[in-house]
Protein backbone atom coordinates (compact mmCIF):
# COMPACT_ATOMS: atom_id res chain seq x y z
CA UNK A 1 0.00 0.00 0.00
CA UNK A 2 1.10 3.50 -0.62
CA UNK A 3 -0.76 5.32 2.08
CA UNK A 4 1.32 8.34 2.87
CA UNK A 5 1.96 8.92 6.56
CA UNK A 6 -0.41 11.40 8.15
CA UNK A 7 2.57 13.58 9.00
CA UNK A 8 4.83 14.55 6.14
CA UNK A 9 8.10 13.15 7.34
CA UNK A 10 11.12 15.31 7.65
CA UNK A 11 14.18 13.91 5.94
CA UNK A 12 16.16 14.52 9.05
CA UNK A 13 13.87 15.06 11.98
CA UNK A 14 14.65 17.73 14.44
CA UNK A 15 14.54 16.80 18.04
CA UNK A 16 11.66 18.36 19.80
CA UNK A 17 12.87 20.46 22.67
CA UNK A 18 10.04 20.79 25.09
CA UNK A 19 12.22 21.65 28.06
CA UNK A 20 11.13 25.23 27.62
CA UNK A 21 7.40 24.93 26.89
CA UNK A 22 6.79 28.64 27.42
CA UNK A 23 9.36 29.53 24.84
CA UNK A 24 7.94 26.98 22.41
CA UNK A 25 4.46 28.37 22.76
CA UNK A 26 5.73 31.94 22.35
CA UNK A 27 7.36 30.97 19.09
CA UNK A 28 4.26 29.17 17.85
CA UNK A 29 1.14 31.26 18.40
CA UNK A 30 -1.07 28.64 16.73
CA UNK A 31 0.11 25.98 19.14
CA UNK A 32 -0.29 28.42 22.00
CA UNK A 33 -3.89 29.08 21.01
CA UNK A 34 -4.45 25.31 20.77
CA UNK A 35 -2.89 24.65 24.15
CA UNK A 36 -5.01 27.44 25.61
CA UNK A 37 -8.22 26.04 24.13
CA UNK A 38 -7.41 22.53 25.29
CA UNK A 39 -6.55 23.72 28.80
CA UNK A 40 -9.81 25.62 28.94
CA UNK A 41 -11.79 22.52 27.95
CA UNK A 42 -9.87 20.37 30.44
CA UNK A 43 -10.63 22.88 33.19
CA UNK A 44 -14.30 23.03 32.25
CA UNK A 45 -14.58 19.24 32.37
CA UNK A 46 -12.66 18.81 35.60
CA UNK A 47 -14.37 21.72 37.33
CA UNK A 48 -17.83 20.84 35.99
CA UNK A 49 -19.21 20.12 39.49
CA UNK A 50 -18.40 23.63 40.74
CA UNK A 51 -19.49 25.52 37.63
CA UNK A 52 -23.12 25.80 38.65
CA UNK A 53 -24.15 22.44 37.21
CA UNK A 54 -26.66 19.98 38.54
CA UNK A 55 -26.68 16.19 38.16
CA UNK A 56 -26.45 15.74 34.37
CA UNK A 57 -28.60 12.62 34.59
CA UNK A 58 -31.35 14.08 36.79
CA UNK A 59 -34.72 13.79 35.06
CA UNK A 60 -37.37 16.42 35.31
CA UNK A 61 -40.16 15.27 33.06
CA UNK A 62 -42.31 18.37 33.56
CA UNK A 63 -39.44 20.61 32.33
CA UNK A 64 -38.79 18.68 29.14
CA UNK A 65 -37.50 20.62 26.10
CA UNK A 66 -37.52 23.89 28.03
CA UNK A 67 -35.87 26.90 26.47
CA UNK A 68 -32.96 28.76 28.07
CA UNK A 69 -33.77 30.27 31.46
CA UNK A 70 -31.88 31.36 34.55
CA UNK A 71 -32.37 27.87 35.91
CA UNK A 72 -31.27 26.06 32.73
CA UNK A 73 -29.04 28.42 30.79
CA UNK A 74 -28.91 26.11 27.74
CA UNK A 75 -32.44 24.78 28.28
CA UNK A 76 -33.30 21.09 28.77
CA UNK A 77 -33.50 17.96 26.62
CA UNK A 78 -36.39 15.60 25.92
CA UNK A 79 -36.23 14.19 29.45
CA UNK A 80 -35.90 17.55 31.14
CA UNK A 81 -32.20 17.06 31.85
CA UNK A 82 -30.12 20.23 32.11
CA UNK A 83 -28.25 20.70 28.83
CA UNK A 84 -25.62 22.99 30.36
CA UNK A 85 -24.67 20.37 32.93
CA UNK A 86 -24.69 17.61 30.33
CA UNK A 87 -22.44 19.51 27.95
CA UNK A 88 -19.96 20.37 30.70
CA UNK A 89 -19.82 16.82 32.03
CA UNK A 90 -19.81 15.49 28.47
CA UNK A 91 -16.30 16.80 27.97
CA UNK A 92 -14.99 14.29 30.47
CA UNK A 93 -15.84 11.32 28.26
CA UNK A 94 -14.49 12.84 25.06
CA UNK A 95 -11.24 13.98 26.65
CA UNK A 96 -10.76 10.67 28.46
CA UNK A 97 -11.35 8.68 25.29
CA UNK A 98 -9.09 10.97 23.30
CA UNK A 99 -6.25 10.93 25.81
CA UNK A 100 -6.20 7.21 26.52
CA UNK A 101 -6.76 6.19 22.91
CA UNK A 102 -3.83 8.43 21.88
CA UNK A 103 -1.64 7.07 24.67
CA UNK A 104 -2.46 3.42 24.00
CA UNK A 105 -2.22 3.63 20.22
CA UNK A 106 1.14 5.43 20.49
CA UNK A 107 2.49 2.78 22.84
CA UNK A 108 1.18 -0.09 20.73
CA UNK A 109 2.11 1.57 17.46
CA UNK A 110 5.64 2.37 18.64
CA UNK A 111 6.16 -1.21 19.75
CA UNK A 112 4.90 -2.62 16.46
CA UNK A 113 6.88 -0.09 14.46
CA UNK A 114 10.11 -0.73 16.36
CA UNK A 115 9.75 -4.49 16.13
CA UNK A 116 8.94 -4.27 12.46
CA UNK A 117 11.93 -2.07 11.72
CA UNK A 118 14.26 -4.20 13.82
CA UNK A 119 13.31 -7.72 12.82
CA UNK A 120 13.22 -8.26 9.10
CA UNK A 121 11.44 -11.58 9.46
CA UNK A 122 8.44 -10.07 11.19
CA UNK A 123 8.38 -6.92 9.12
CA UNK A 124 6.48 -8.28 6.13
CA UNK A 125 3.81 -10.01 8.19
CA UNK A 126 3.26 -7.15 10.61
CA UNK A 127 3.07 -4.53 7.91
CA UNK A 128 0.60 -6.64 5.91
CA UNK A 129 -1.58 -6.83 9.02
CA UNK A 130 -1.26 -3.09 9.53
CA UNK A 131 -2.09 -2.48 5.85
CA UNK A 132 -5.08 -4.77 6.15
CA UNK A 133 -6.37 -2.90 9.19
CA UNK A 134 -5.77 0.42 7.48
CA UNK A 135 -7.67 -0.61 4.39
CA UNK A 136 -10.86 -0.98 6.42
CA UNK A 137 -12.40 2.48 6.71
CA UNK A 138 -11.71 3.62 10.27
CA UNK A 139 -15.28 4.18 11.28
CA UNK A 140 -16.42 0.81 9.87
CA UNK A 141 -13.68 -1.00 11.75
CA UNK A 142 -14.58 0.86 14.93
CA UNK A 143 -18.27 0.02 14.47
CA UNK A 144 -17.46 -3.65 13.94
CA UNK A 145 -15.24 -3.69 17.03
CA UNK A 146 -17.93 -2.04 19.13
CA UNK A 147 -20.45 -4.61 17.94
CA UNK A 148 -18.14 -7.29 19.31
CA UNK A 149 -17.13 -5.62 22.53
CA UNK A 150 -20.40 -3.98 23.56
CA UNK A 151 -21.01 -0.39 24.52
CA UNK A 152 -18.69 1.02 27.22
CA UNK A 153 -16.17 3.82 27.48
CA UNK A 154 -13.28 1.35 27.81
CA UNK A 155 -14.37 -0.42 24.64
CA UNK A 156 -14.57 2.83 22.73
CA UNK A 157 -10.98 3.52 23.81
CA UNK A 158 -9.90 0.04 22.72
CA UNK A 159 -11.71 0.27 19.38
CA UNK A 160 -10.12 3.62 18.57
CA UNK A 161 -6.75 2.24 19.65
CA UNK A 162 -7.03 -0.63 17.20
CA UNK A 163 -8.00 1.82 14.46
CA UNK A 164 -5.17 4.27 15.15
CA UNK A 165 -2.32 1.87 15.99
CA UNK A 166 -1.43 0.98 12.36
CA UNK A 167 -0.96 4.63 11.49
CA UNK A 168 1.47 5.12 14.37
CA UNK A 169 3.23 1.86 13.60
CA UNK A 170 3.79 2.79 9.95
CA UNK A 171 5.07 6.20 10.91
CA UNK A 172 7.44 4.84 13.57
CA UNK A 173 8.76 2.18 11.23
CA UNK A 174 9.40 4.78 8.55
CA UNK A 175 11.21 7.12 10.93
CA UNK A 176 13.31 4.32 12.39
CA UNK A 177 14.34 3.09 8.95
CA UNK A 178 15.36 6.60 7.94
CA UNK A 179 17.13 7.22 11.24
CA UNK A 180 19.20 4.10 10.73
CA UNK A 181 20.65 5.63 7.62
CA UNK A 182 21.97 8.60 9.60
CA UNK A 183 25.73 8.58 10.10
CA UNK A 184 25.70 8.62 13.89
CA UNK A 185 23.38 5.67 14.10
CA UNK A 186 25.37 3.78 11.49
CA UNK A 187 28.42 4.53 13.55
CA UNK A 188 26.77 3.16 16.67
CA UNK A 189 25.81 -0.01 14.82
CA UNK A 190 29.34 -0.36 13.46
CA UNK A 191 30.82 0.13 16.91
CA UNK A 192 28.90 -2.88 18.14
CA UNK A 193 26.17 -1.35 20.32
CA UNK A 194 23.38 -3.79 21.02
CA UNK A 195 19.99 -3.33 19.39
CA UNK A 196 18.46 -2.41 22.73
CA UNK A 197 21.11 0.25 23.32
CA UNK A 198 20.62 1.66 19.86
CA UNK A 199 16.92 1.68 20.32
CA UNK A 200 16.95 3.58 23.58
CA UNK A 201 19.99 5.80 23.06
CA UNK A 202 19.54 6.77 19.45
CA UNK A 203 16.19 5.86 18.01
CA UNK A 204 13.68 6.69 20.74
CA UNK A 205 14.89 10.27 21.22
CA UNK A 206 14.58 10.86 17.51
CA UNK A 207 11.08 9.42 17.61
CA UNK A 208 9.64 11.51 20.43
CA UNK A 209 8.88 14.46 18.16
CA UNK A 210 7.04 12.59 15.42
CA UNK A 211 5.23 10.48 18.03
CA UNK A 212 4.14 13.58 19.91
CA UNK A 213 2.73 15.00 16.69
CA UNK A 214 1.06 11.69 15.85
CA UNK A 215 -0.38 11.53 19.37
CA UNK A 216 -2.20 14.80 18.86
CA UNK A 217 -3.67 13.50 15.60
CA UNK A 218 -4.78 10.29 17.32
CA UNK A 219 -6.27 12.32 20.12
CA UNK A 220 -8.28 14.45 17.71
CA UNK A 221 -9.33 11.45 15.62
CA UNK A 222 -10.35 9.54 18.75
CA UNK A 223 -12.68 12.28 19.89
CA UNK A 224 -14.28 12.50 16.46
CA UNK A 225 -14.67 8.72 16.23
CA UNK A 226 -16.19 8.57 19.71
CA UNK A 227 -18.71 11.21 18.67
CA UNK A 228 -19.54 9.42 15.42
CA UNK A 229 -19.91 6.03 17.15
CA UNK A 230 -22.13 7.42 19.88
CA UNK A 231 -24.06 9.35 17.27
CA UNK A 232 -25.07 6.22 15.40
CA UNK A 233 -25.68 4.42 18.69
CA UNK A 234 -22.62 2.17 18.73
CA UNK A 235 -20.39 4.02 21.18
CA UNK A 236 -20.52 5.25 24.75
CA UNK A 237 -23.52 3.79 26.62
CA UNK A 238 -26.43 6.23 26.20
CA UNK A 239 -26.84 6.69 29.95
CA UNK A 240 -23.45 8.44 30.11
CA UNK A 241 -23.59 12.04 28.89
CA UNK A 242 -20.87 12.32 26.27
CA UNK A 243 -20.94 14.93 23.54
CA UNK A 244 -21.67 12.25 20.97
CA UNK A 245 -24.57 10.92 23.05
CA UNK A 246 -26.08 14.35 23.61
CA UNK A 247 -26.00 14.87 19.83
CA UNK A 248 -27.43 11.40 19.29
CA UNK A 249 -30.29 12.16 21.69
CA UNK A 250 -30.83 15.44 19.91
CA UNK A 251 -30.88 14.16 16.34
CA UNK A 252 -34.58 13.33 16.46
CA UNK A 253 -35.30 16.90 17.47
CA UNK A 254 -32.74 18.95 15.57
CA UNK A 255 -35.41 20.73 13.58
CA UNK A 256 -37.10 22.12 16.65
CA UNK A 257 -34.14 22.30 19.03
CA UNK A 258 -30.97 22.55 16.94
CA UNK A 259 -28.93 23.44 20.02
CA UNK A 260 -29.18 19.80 21.13
CA UNK A 261 -26.78 19.03 18.28
CA UNK A 262 -24.97 22.28 17.74
CA UNK A 263 -24.05 23.14 21.37
CA UNK A 264 -22.17 19.91 22.09
CA UNK A 265 -20.75 20.18 18.56
CA UNK A 266 -19.26 23.59 19.33
CA UNK A 267 -17.59 22.26 22.47
CA UNK A 268 -16.36 19.13 20.71
CA UNK A 269 -15.05 21.04 17.72
CA UNK A 270 -13.35 23.61 19.93
CA UNK A 271 -11.57 20.82 21.81
CA UNK A 272 -10.54 19.00 18.65
CA UNK A 273 -9.44 22.32 17.18
CA UNK A 274 -7.28 22.92 20.25
CA UNK A 275 -5.61 19.53 19.88
CA UNK A 276 -5.15 20.02 16.13
CA UNK A 277 -3.61 23.48 16.54
CA UNK A 278 -1.21 22.13 19.14
CA UNK A 279 -0.29 19.25 16.84
CA UNK A 280 0.15 21.56 13.89
CA UNK A 281 2.48 23.75 15.94
CA UNK A 282 4.54 20.73 16.97
CA UNK A 283 4.73 19.55 13.38
CA UNK A 284 5.93 22.89 12.13
CA UNK A 285 8.49 23.06 14.89
CA UNK A 286 9.83 19.69 13.77
CA UNK A 287 9.78 20.30 10.04
CA UNK A 288 13.22 21.39 8.89
CA UNK A 289 11.76 22.76 5.68
CA UNK A 290 9.52 25.18 7.42
CA UNK A 291 12.57 26.71 9.09
CA UNK A 292 11.10 26.11 12.50
CA UNK A 293 8.44 28.29 11.02
CA UNK A 294 5.38 29.82 12.39
Amino acid sequence: MTAIPAVPLPVRPRRLDLSRPIGFLRDHPGAAAGAGLLTLMLLISVLAPVLGTIDPRALSISDRLAGPSSEHIFGTDQLGRDLYSRVLYGGRVSLTVGFFAALLSCIAGTLVGLISASFRMLDGLMMRIMDGLMSIPAILLAIALMAVAGASVQNVILAVTVVETPRVARMVRGVVLSLRELPYVEAAIASGSTSIQIMFRHLLPGLTGPIAVQATFCWAAAMLIEAALSFIGAGTPPSIPSWGNIMSDGKALWQIKPELIFLPAVFLSATVLGVNLLGDGLRRALDPKSGGGK
Partner: protein
Protein backbone atom coordinates in the same frame (compact mmCIF):
# COMPACT_ATOMS: atom_id res chain seq x y z
CA UNK B 1 5.25 -2.39 -16.76
CA UNK B 2 3.21 -5.57 -17.01
CA UNK B 3 5.32 -7.33 -14.42
CA UNK B 4 5.04 -4.30 -12.15
CA UNK B 5 1.28 -4.39 -12.50
CA UNK B 6 1.23 -8.06 -11.68
CA UNK B 7 3.50 -7.56 -8.71
CA UNK B 8 1.30 -4.81 -7.34
CA UNK B 9 -1.76 -7.00 -7.73
CA UNK B 10 -0.03 -9.87 -5.97
CA UNK B 11 0.94 -7.53 -3.13
CA UNK B 12 -2.67 -6.48 -2.68
CA UNK B 13 -3.86 -10.05 -2.16
CA UNK B 14 -2.42 -10.59 1.35
CA UNK B 15 -3.91 -7.28 2.42
CA UNK B 16 -7.38 -8.37 1.40
CA UNK B 17 -6.66 -11.74 3.05
CA UNK B 18 -5.84 -10.03 6.34
CA UNK B 19 -9.03 -8.04 6.05
CA UNK B 20 -11.02 -11.23 5.50
CA UNK B 21 -9.53 -12.90 8.58
CA UNK B 22 -10.00 -9.80 10.71
CA UNK B 23 -13.63 -9.35 9.69
CA UNK B 24 -14.51 -12.97 10.10
CA UNK B 25 -12.91 -13.36 13.52
CA UNK B 26 -14.37 -10.08 14.76
CA UNK B 27 -17.88 -11.07 13.93
CA UNK B 28 -17.35 -14.57 15.20
CA UNK B 29 -16.85 -13.12 18.65
CA UNK B 30 -19.82 -10.81 18.43
CA UNK B 31 -22.21 -11.39 21.29
CA UNK B 32 -25.88 -11.74 20.45
CA UNK B 33 -27.29 -14.77 18.75
CA UNK B 34 -28.88 -14.15 15.36
CA UNK B 35 -30.69 -17.48 15.58
CA UNK B 36 -32.58 -16.24 18.63
CA UNK B 37 -33.74 -13.09 16.86
CA UNK B 38 -34.68 -15.01 13.78
CA UNK B 39 -36.63 -17.73 15.51
CA UNK B 40 -38.85 -15.11 17.07
CA UNK B 41 -40.31 -14.40 20.48
CA UNK B 42 -42.19 -17.58 21.15
CA UNK B 43 -39.71 -20.05 19.73
CA UNK B 44 -38.83 -23.06 21.83
CA UNK B 45 -35.13 -23.84 22.40
CA UNK B 46 -35.47 -26.69 19.86
CA UNK B 47 -36.75 -24.31 17.20
CA UNK B 48 -33.86 -21.95 17.92
CA UNK B 49 -31.44 -24.86 17.49
CA UNK B 50 -33.09 -25.72 14.19
CA UNK B 51 -32.70 -22.16 12.92
CA UNK B 52 -29.08 -22.16 14.05
CA UNK B 53 -28.38 -25.32 12.15
CA UNK B 54 -30.14 -24.09 9.03
CA UNK B 55 -27.83 -21.05 9.04
CA UNK B 56 -24.75 -23.19 9.62
CA UNK B 57 -24.08 -21.30 12.84
CA UNK B 58 -23.56 -24.53 14.75
CA UNK B 59 -20.42 -25.52 12.81
CA UNK B 60 -16.92 -24.83 14.15
CA UNK B 61 -15.47 -21.44 13.15
CA UNK B 62 -12.71 -22.70 10.84
CA UNK B 63 -15.21 -24.65 8.76
CA UNK B 64 -17.41 -21.60 8.54
CA UNK B 65 -14.40 -19.49 7.52
CA UNK B 66 -13.30 -21.87 4.79
CA UNK B 67 -16.83 -22.12 3.47
CA UNK B 68 -17.20 -18.36 3.59
CA UNK B 69 -13.99 -17.68 1.67
CA UNK B 70 -14.84 -20.37 -0.88
CA UNK B 71 -18.20 -18.79 -1.51
CA UNK B 72 -16.72 -15.30 -1.77
CA UNK B 73 -14.37 -16.50 -4.47
CA UNK B 74 -17.45 -17.62 -6.38
CA UNK B 75 -19.03 -14.21 -5.89
CA UNK B 76 -21.38 -15.42 -3.18
CA UNK B 77 -21.36 -13.35 -0.01
CA UNK B 78 -24.16 -15.35 1.57
CA UNK B 79 -27.66 -14.24 2.42
CA UNK B 80 -28.94 -11.75 4.92
CA UNK B 81 -30.15 -13.35 8.10
CA UNK B 82 -33.02 -10.88 8.23
CA UNK B 83 -34.36 -10.48 4.73
CA UNK B 84 -33.08 -13.78 3.29
CA UNK B 85 -31.90 -11.86 0.24
CA UNK B 86 -28.39 -12.49 -1.12
CA UNK B 87 -25.89 -10.00 0.30
CA UNK B 88 -24.59 -9.19 -3.18
CA UNK B 89 -28.15 -8.36 -4.26
CA UNK B 90 -28.70 -6.16 -1.20
CA UNK B 91 -25.44 -4.30 -1.72
CA UNK B 92 -26.14 -4.02 -5.44
CA UNK B 93 -29.53 -2.47 -4.73
CA UNK B 94 -27.89 0.18 -2.60
CA UNK B 95 -24.78 0.80 -4.64
CA UNK B 96 -26.07 3.61 -6.82
CA UNK B 97 -26.62 6.19 -4.06
CA UNK B 98 -23.34 5.37 -2.34
CA UNK B 99 -21.22 5.27 -5.50
CA UNK B 100 -22.83 8.44 -6.80
CA UNK B 101 -22.21 10.16 -3.49
CA UNK B 102 -18.58 9.06 -3.25
CA UNK B 103 -17.83 9.95 -6.87
CA UNK B 104 -19.57 13.30 -6.56
CA UNK B 105 -17.65 14.07 -3.36
CA UNK B 106 -14.33 13.04 -4.92
CA UNK B 107 -14.91 15.21 -8.00
CA UNK B 108 -16.05 18.11 -5.86
CA UNK B 109 -13.00 17.80 -3.61
CA UNK B 110 -10.59 17.61 -6.51
CA UNK B 111 -12.27 20.51 -8.29
CA UNK B 112 -12.07 22.64 -5.15
CA UNK B 113 -8.94 21.27 -3.51
CA UNK B 114 -6.43 21.50 -6.36
CA UNK B 115 -7.09 25.14 -7.34
CA UNK B 116 -7.16 26.02 -3.66
CA UNK B 117 -3.80 24.34 -3.10
CA UNK B 118 -2.33 25.93 -6.22
CA UNK B 119 -3.54 29.35 -5.10
CA UNK B 120 -2.06 28.82 -1.67
CA UNK B 121 1.26 27.70 -3.13
CA UNK B 122 1.43 30.54 -5.60
CA UNK B 123 1.92 32.96 -2.76
CA UNK B 124 2.92 31.33 0.54
CA UNK B 125 1.61 33.33 3.46
CA UNK B 126 -0.94 35.06 1.25
CA UNK B 127 -4.67 35.21 1.69
CA UNK B 128 -5.32 31.88 -0.01
CA UNK B 129 -2.58 30.20 2.01
CA UNK B 130 -3.93 31.49 5.30
CA UNK B 131 -7.44 30.56 4.29
CA UNK B 132 -6.23 27.06 3.48
CA UNK B 133 -4.62 26.69 6.89
CA UNK B 134 -7.82 27.86 8.51
CA UNK B 135 -10.05 25.56 6.45
CA UNK B 136 -7.77 22.59 7.06
CA UNK B 137 -7.58 23.02 10.80
CA UNK B 138 -11.27 23.80 11.19
CA UNK B 139 -12.37 21.14 8.69
CA UNK B 140 -10.50 18.51 10.66
CA UNK B 141 -12.24 19.57 13.84
CA UNK B 142 -15.88 19.24 12.81
CA UNK B 143 -17.56 15.82 12.81
CA UNK B 144 -18.93 15.05 9.35
CA UNK B 145 -22.49 14.61 10.62
CA UNK B 146 -22.45 18.01 12.30
CA UNK B 147 -21.39 19.58 9.01
CA UNK B 148 -24.27 17.67 7.40
CA UNK B 149 -26.83 18.94 9.89
CA UNK B 150 -25.50 22.48 9.64
CA UNK B 151 -25.82 22.45 5.83
CA UNK B 152 -29.24 20.80 5.98
CA UNK B 153 -30.37 23.37 8.51
CA UNK B 154 -29.32 26.35 6.40
CA UNK B 155 -29.82 25.23 2.80
CA UNK B 156 -32.74 22.83 3.20
CA UNK B 157 -34.75 23.83 6.27
CA UNK B 158 -34.29 27.58 6.17
CA UNK B 159 -33.58 28.51 2.55
CA UNK B 160 -35.41 25.58 0.91
CA UNK B 161 -32.86 25.48 -1.89
CA UNK B 162 -32.24 21.77 -1.67
CA UNK B 163 -34.06 18.67 -0.44
CA UNK B 164 -33.57 17.69 3.21
CA UNK B 165 -33.35 13.99 2.55
CA UNK B 166 -33.63 11.21 0.07
CA UNK B 167 -31.99 10.15 -3.14
CA UNK B 168 -33.23 10.57 -6.69
CA UNK B 169 -31.68 8.11 -9.10
CA UNK B 170 -30.11 9.43 -12.27
CA UNK B 171 -33.03 7.95 -14.21
CA UNK B 172 -35.27 10.60 -12.61
CA UNK B 173 -33.24 13.27 -14.41
CA UNK B 174 -29.83 14.74 -13.88
CA UNK B 175 -31.00 17.81 -11.98
CA UNK B 176 -32.98 16.04 -9.23
CA UNK B 177 -30.13 13.54 -9.02
CA UNK B 178 -27.50 16.23 -8.42
CA UNK B 179 -29.74 18.19 -6.10
CA UNK B 180 -30.37 15.18 -3.89
CA UNK B 181 -26.62 14.59 -3.54
CA UNK B 182 -25.33 18.13 -3.21
CA UNK B 183 -25.59 18.62 0.55
CA UNK B 184 -24.28 15.19 1.55
CA UNK B 185 -21.42 15.49 -0.96
CA UNK B 186 -20.41 18.90 0.33
CA UNK B 187 -20.48 17.66 3.94
CA UNK B 188 -18.29 14.74 2.98
CA UNK B 189 -15.86 16.68 0.88
CA UNK B 190 -14.87 19.33 3.45
CA UNK B 191 -12.12 17.23 4.98
CA UNK B 192 -11.17 15.63 1.68
CA UNK B 193 -10.85 19.03 0.00
CA UNK B 194 -8.65 20.22 2.84
CA UNK B 195 -6.37 17.18 2.53
CA UNK B 196 -6.05 17.53 -1.24
CA UNK B 197 -5.45 21.27 -1.02
CA UNK B 198 -2.81 20.88 1.66
CA UNK B 199 -0.90 18.22 -0.24
CA UNK B 200 -1.21 20.17 -3.50
CA UNK B 201 0.25 23.21 -1.77
CA UNK B 202 3.19 21.32 -0.28
CA UNK B 203 4.14 19.51 -3.46
CA UNK B 204 3.67 22.62 -5.59
CA UNK B 205 5.99 24.54 -3.31
CA UNK B 206 8.63 21.87 -3.77
CA UNK B 207 8.26 21.81 -7.54
CA UNK B 208 8.16 25.59 -7.86
CA UNK B 209 11.63 25.76 -6.32
CA UNK B 210 13.08 23.48 -8.98
CA UNK B 211 15.41 24.84 -11.59
CA UNK B 212 13.29 24.01 -14.59
CA UNK B 213 10.45 26.16 -13.32
CA UNK B 214 12.88 29.05 -12.93
CA UNK B 215 14.00 28.41 -16.48
CA UNK B 216 10.44 28.43 -17.68
CA UNK B 217 9.81 31.72 -15.93
CA UNK B 218 12.99 33.11 -17.44
CA UNK B 219 11.83 32.00 -20.87
CA UNK B 220 8.86 34.30 -20.31
CA UNK B 221 6.15 31.68 -20.08
CA UNK B 222 2.97 32.93 -18.40
CA UNK B 223 2.52 32.12 -14.71
CA UNK B 224 -0.78 30.33 -15.18
CA UNK B 225 0.81 28.22 -17.89
CA UNK B 226 3.71 27.41 -15.61
CA UNK B 227 1.49 26.64 -12.65
CA UNK B 228 -0.72 24.23 -14.47
CA UNK B 229 1.36 22.92 -17.34
CA UNK B 230 4.62 22.33 -15.53
CA UNK B 231 4.29 22.57 -11.81
CA UNK B 232 0.95 20.88 -11.25
CA UNK B 233 1.79 18.03 -13.56
CA UNK B 234 4.92 17.27 -11.64
CA UNK B 235 3.31 17.82 -8.31
CA UNK B 236 0.53 15.45 -9.20
CA UNK B 237 1.98 12.26 -7.75
CA UNK B 238 1.56 13.10 -4.06
CA UNK B 239 -1.82 14.59 -4.90
CA UNK B 240 -2.99 11.40 -6.60
CA UNK B 241 -1.61 9.39 -3.70
CA UNK B 242 -3.58 11.34 -1.16
CA UNK B 243 -6.71 11.06 -3.28
CA UNK B 244 -6.30 7.30 -3.06
CA UNK B 245 -5.49 7.05 0.62
CA UNK B 246 -8.22 9.51 1.52
CA UNK B 247 -10.87 7.28 -0.05
CA UNK B 248 -11.06 5.31 3.20
CA UNK B 249 -11.98 8.46 5.11
CA UNK B 250 -14.55 9.25 2.46
CA UNK B 251 -16.18 5.81 2.59
CA UNK B 252 -16.29 6.01 6.38
CA UNK B 253 -17.86 9.46 6.18
CA UNK B 254 -20.42 8.21 3.67
CA UNK B 255 -21.60 5.57 6.17
CA UNK B 256 -22.40 8.30 8.66
CA UNK B 257 -23.73 10.95 6.29
CA UNK B 258 -26.14 8.56 4.56
CA UNK B 259 -27.88 8.26 7.90
CA UNK B 260 -28.17 12.03 8.24
CA UNK B 261 -29.71 12.54 4.79
CA UNK B 262 -31.68 9.27 4.69
CA UNK B 263 -29.88 8.10 1.55
CA UNK B 264 -30.77 4.47 0.80
CA UNK B 265 -27.15 3.43 0.37
CA UNK B 266 -24.61 0.95 1.66
CA UNK B 267 -23.90 3.05 4.76
CA UNK B 268 -27.49 2.86 5.82
CA UNK B 269 -27.42 -0.89 5.20
CA UNK B 270 -24.35 -1.19 7.44
CA UNK B 271 -25.86 0.61 10.41
CA UNK B 272 -29.08 -1.39 10.14
CA UNK B 273 -27.14 -4.63 9.80
CA UNK B 274 -25.13 -3.90 12.91
CA UNK B 275 -28.21 -3.29 15.03
CA UNK B 276 -29.69 -6.54 13.68
CA UNK B 277 -26.46 -8.52 14.11
CA UNK B 278 -26.82 -9.44 10.46
CA UNK B 279 -23.37 -11.07 10.17
CA UNK B 280 -23.26 -11.85 6.44
CA UNK B 281 -24.24 -8.30 5.53
CA UNK B 282 -21.66 -6.72 7.86
CA UNK B 283 -18.97 -9.05 6.57
CA UNK B 284 -19.88 -8.34 2.97
CA UNK B 285 -19.99 -4.57 3.35
CA UNK B 286 -16.72 -4.27 5.23
CA UNK B 287 -14.99 -6.66 2.88
CA UNK B 288 -16.21 -4.89 -0.23
CA UNK B 289 -15.35 -1.42 1.03
CA UNK B 290 -11.85 -2.58 1.91
CA UNK B 291 -11.52 -4.21 -1.48
CA UNK B 292 -12.65 -0.96 -3.08
CA UNK B 293 -10.02 0.90 -1.12
CA UNK B 294 -7.30 -1.55 -2.13
CA UNK B 295 -8.40 -1.33 -5.74
CA UNK B 296 -8.43 2.46 -5.84
CA UNK B 297 -4.93 2.53 -4.43
CA UNK B 298 -3.78 -0.08 -6.89
CA UNK B 299 -5.10 2.14 -9.65
CA UNK B 300 -3.31 5.08 -8.07
CA UNK B 301 -0.01 3.18 -8.04
CA UNK B 302 -0.42 2.25 -11.66
CA UNK B 303 -1.33 5.81 -12.54
CA UNK B 304 2.11 6.95 -11.37
CA UNK B 305 3.82 5.29 -14.26
CA UNK B 306 1.54 7.04 -16.68
CA UNK B 307 1.78 10.43 -15.04
CA UNK B 308 5.47 10.53 -14.39
CA UNK B 309 7.53 8.94 -17.12
CA UNK B 310 10.60 9.16 -14.88
CA UNK B 311 9.19 6.36 -12.76
CA UNK B 312 10.22 3.01 -14.15
CA UNK B 313 9.89 -0.29 -12.47
Amino acid sequence: MLSYTLRRILMAIPVVGVVAVVIFSLLYFTPGDPALVLAGEQATPAEVEQVRASLGLDKPPYIRFVGWVGNILQGDLGSSIFTRQPVTYMIGQRLEPTLSLVVFAVLLSIACGIPFGVAAASRPGGVADRALTAVTVVGFSIPVFVAGYALAFVFASKLHWLPVQGFRPMSDGILPFLRSLTLPAISLSIIYTAIIAAVTRTSMLEVLNQDYIRTATAKGLGPTYILFRHALKNASIPVITVIGSGIATLIGGAVIIENVFALPGVGRLTVDAISHRDYPVIQGVVLLSSAAYVMVNLAVDLAYTVLDPRIRY
